[in-house]
């Protein structure tokens, strides 16, 4: 079960992912990112501080947006991941493909740098 909240701050869309993302709930994450892109936000920050679990279905959602966001010059930065969640990303080497920081200010700073 996952809850997703979106709020806007300083021109960025901040997507907070709360709970667990598996094959039954990954669609919620997909819809949230699609909305964010569709509404024309120039930066997407994903708050993972309340994300307790992610399986490959959720990882696949992030992966599937890499090209589109690169083409549209929209940086997406994930931040605040717990160690057990971060471990899932690193098992697959996704930490190299996605932008991941520890805190929200770091995420915003990185998104600003990537926006240039």
């Amino acid at each position: 079960m996952v809850h997703i909240k979106r709020l806007q701050e300083g021109g960025a869309d901040i997507i907070s992912v709360i709970g667990e993302i598996d094959a039954s709930s990954s669609i919620e994450l997909d819809l949230a990112i699609a909305k964010s892109v569709g509404e024309g936000f120039k930066q997407i920050l994903v708050d993972c501080s309340a994300l307790e679990y992610i399986s490959s279905a959720g990882l696949g959602v992030f992966m599937s947006y890499i090209e589109e966001l690169k083409d549209k010059n929209i940086p997406m930065v994930l931040f605040g991941m717990k160690e057990k969640v971060a471990n899932t990303f690193s098992i697959l080497g996704l930490a190299e493909l996605l932008h991941i920081t520890t805190t929200k200010p770091e995420a915003k700073k990185l998104a600003d740098e990537l926006s240039v």
């Binding site: 079960m1 667990e20 598996d22 094959a23 039954s24 990954s26 997909d30 679990y53 399986s55 490959s56 279905a57 990882l59 696949g60 959602v61 992966m63 599937s64 947006y65 890499i66 090209e67 589109e68 160690e83 057990k84 471990n87 899932t88 098992i91 697959l92 080497g93 996704l94 493909l97």
Partner: protein, 137 residues
Amino acid sequence: MNYQYNIGCSLSNLKGIREFVRNSLKDQHVPEIEMSAIVLALDEMCSNLMIHAHHCNPDHMLELHIHIPVQGKFIFEIVDNGSVFNINEFHEPDLDNLVHQKRKGGLGIRLVKAIMDNVEYLKRDEKNVCRLTKIIK
């Protein structure tokens, strides 16, 4: 110690599978990072079977067996009657291809192979058994 959990092939049951695995291992002094990885691998294997072999039909059942060893070698078995999808015969695409093709699938098998020490398939009482082995020192 052995544990068994029977569950219908609905993706909404994955959470129950994760809880069952975690509860079965909770007194085994498995480090949290290893515990989370094992839970993830079982979720991946069960969701794969539910989707590809059973088309998420909740009337189709999976049996999950956990054998807790005296020391070290944990065995997880998923037993079903569906078609066999042998992940050892599946060549997962590389990450760059997945990104390029904007594909959402193909990562789960990679995770299972990275987490588990062995994945094998056998037949028992006319049923398919997928046996995952994890050694924890």
